[in-house]
Chain length 276, copies 2
């Protein structure tokens, strides 16, 4: 009985804000029986331009909150936190935790043909050098070109996708990447998949864009199988429960969630995350 | 003796981040004998796209922190907090508190000739309607045109002033304002004075730009005089003390402060503001 209960337990997913919902979307599609608990730290977003100590402190509070929801696994749906805090968070809890960086690095190392890979992300992610480290663990001779694009998060948060400001920002941040010889580009921030078409059309069809969200969902599936925690027993007519929590008021969260997810988000609960 | 001690006490100034340093600059210039304590909530910046409840909760923590520094007055050097939380914060403490909105509204109402005033600020400030309310308290027949410019804060935080992305953003947000008949435009966010020249050259020389920071420093002076709290006794060779605190690591804060202030900021102390 005990083991069945654990299989039925939700997966905890968190991000600095709403960007991690792109990972939730992939989990919903690839693990359709799993119950989910999502936390977005919308009161303190963004993390990417903040210090390592602050990012670690905030993430520990979130892991403590997710533990109160009896999650069976945790997905850090934020590149910045995955890059800077994954090892530290693993020491805080016995619940298995995965991040988005390693899965993204793995797929990029597999798909590049000329062994030249680009990675774009927040200032904190790029500065950490973690993507380069993981990519070169797969193939030490892969050249990695990294670029921080700090304005992409506020642009996506404002819903500016097909917009002249976004065009200028894409050209500003990516023109060197475009002139380089990379054949693969990692969208190393969970907000960036929302700019997928814009980046693709700027960089050209021959560049393979890697969205770590998809690969992370597959890694999560493998992890659950290994630990015998996958919720395979689909009960007739039973749909999984998806619970959403945020640290700021839910208005903007709800609008964003409903534009990203194949699921209607009606209720988001406000959490005072500082108390955890 | 007691009253002398109070006169010598510092003035507390706070903002969601570093933008409030533009108000500090004006206070340093207009009240050169006053000691200052500045707090920037850099771990949770920006406030302008967050909810009223969150902004009030964060501001109350900061006021509690400033009280531990025995300040004799508090300046809310943030338009968003001034617009949404001033009245509530006044109920929390006996220390006199002023914001930046009323001084900015007053000067705009005085300088407009055709009684058409524009105001730009964060989403929260514009949504509050507080600028319009105050301006119309001075002259009820002044027409007010308000526009939220949410990307201006991240642009300034990234140091993007003379940049194509900023040009596009200015045109995107201000083209309607430019076509309107306003003769006065309030820079209703403490980050915006850093875009002063760009906005001035876009809007045209005939438009009077109002920077509430300057007017706020003058209102602070008047308040201190009324309460007999002004630090007029300049002791020979004694320079005032300026203490800086932030909730995130000080690296970015320091660089920004030294680009804004007529004073070399060498030390910024990190504060865990959530504990207040």
């Amino acid at each position: 009985m005990d083991i069945d209960y654990r299989k039925d337990a939700p997966i905890g997913v968190f991000d600095s804000g709403v960007g991690g919902l792109t990972v939730v979307r992939e989990i919903m599609q690839n693990l359709p029986n799993e119950n989910l608990v999502y936390f977005g730290d919308t009161a303190r977003v963004p993390y990417g331009s903040k210090s390592v100590d602050t990012i670690i402190r905030f993430s520990k509070q979130i892991v403590r909150f997710l533990q109160t929801k009896n999650v069976k696994a945790i997905v850090i749906a934020c590149n910045t936190v995955s890059a800077l805090a994954l090892d530290i968070l693993r020491k805080e809890t016995e619940i298995p935790i995965i991040g988005v960086v390693k899965p993204g690095a793995k797929v990029a190392a597999e798909v590049t043909k000329n062994k030249k890979v680009g990675i774009i992300g927040t200032e904190a992610t790029v500065k950490s050098g973690v993507y380069t480290k993981f990519i070169q663990q797969y193939h030490s001779d892969i050249e990695v070109l990294a670029k921080a694009c700090p304005l992409f998060v506020p642009l996506v948060e404002e819903g500016f996708v097909d917009n002249r400001i976004t065009s200028e920002a894409i050209d500003y941040y990516l023109h060197e990447m475009k002139q380089s010889e990379i054949d693969t580009l990692i969208l190393g921030c969970t907000h960036y998949p929302l700019l997928y078409n814009r980046v693709k059309s700027y960089m050209g069809e021959h560049i393979c864009l890697v969205n770590p969200a998809h690969e992370t969902a597959l890694e999560l599936k493998q992890l659950l199988q290994e630990k015998n925690l996958e919720n395979i027993q689909k009960k007739e007519g039973k749909i999984p429960t998806y619970d959403f929590y945020s640290s700021d008021a839910p208005v903007r969260f709800k609008a964003f969630a409903n534009s990203v997810l194949p699921y209607s988000v009606d209720w988001i609960e406000h959490i005072n995350i500082e108390e955890f």
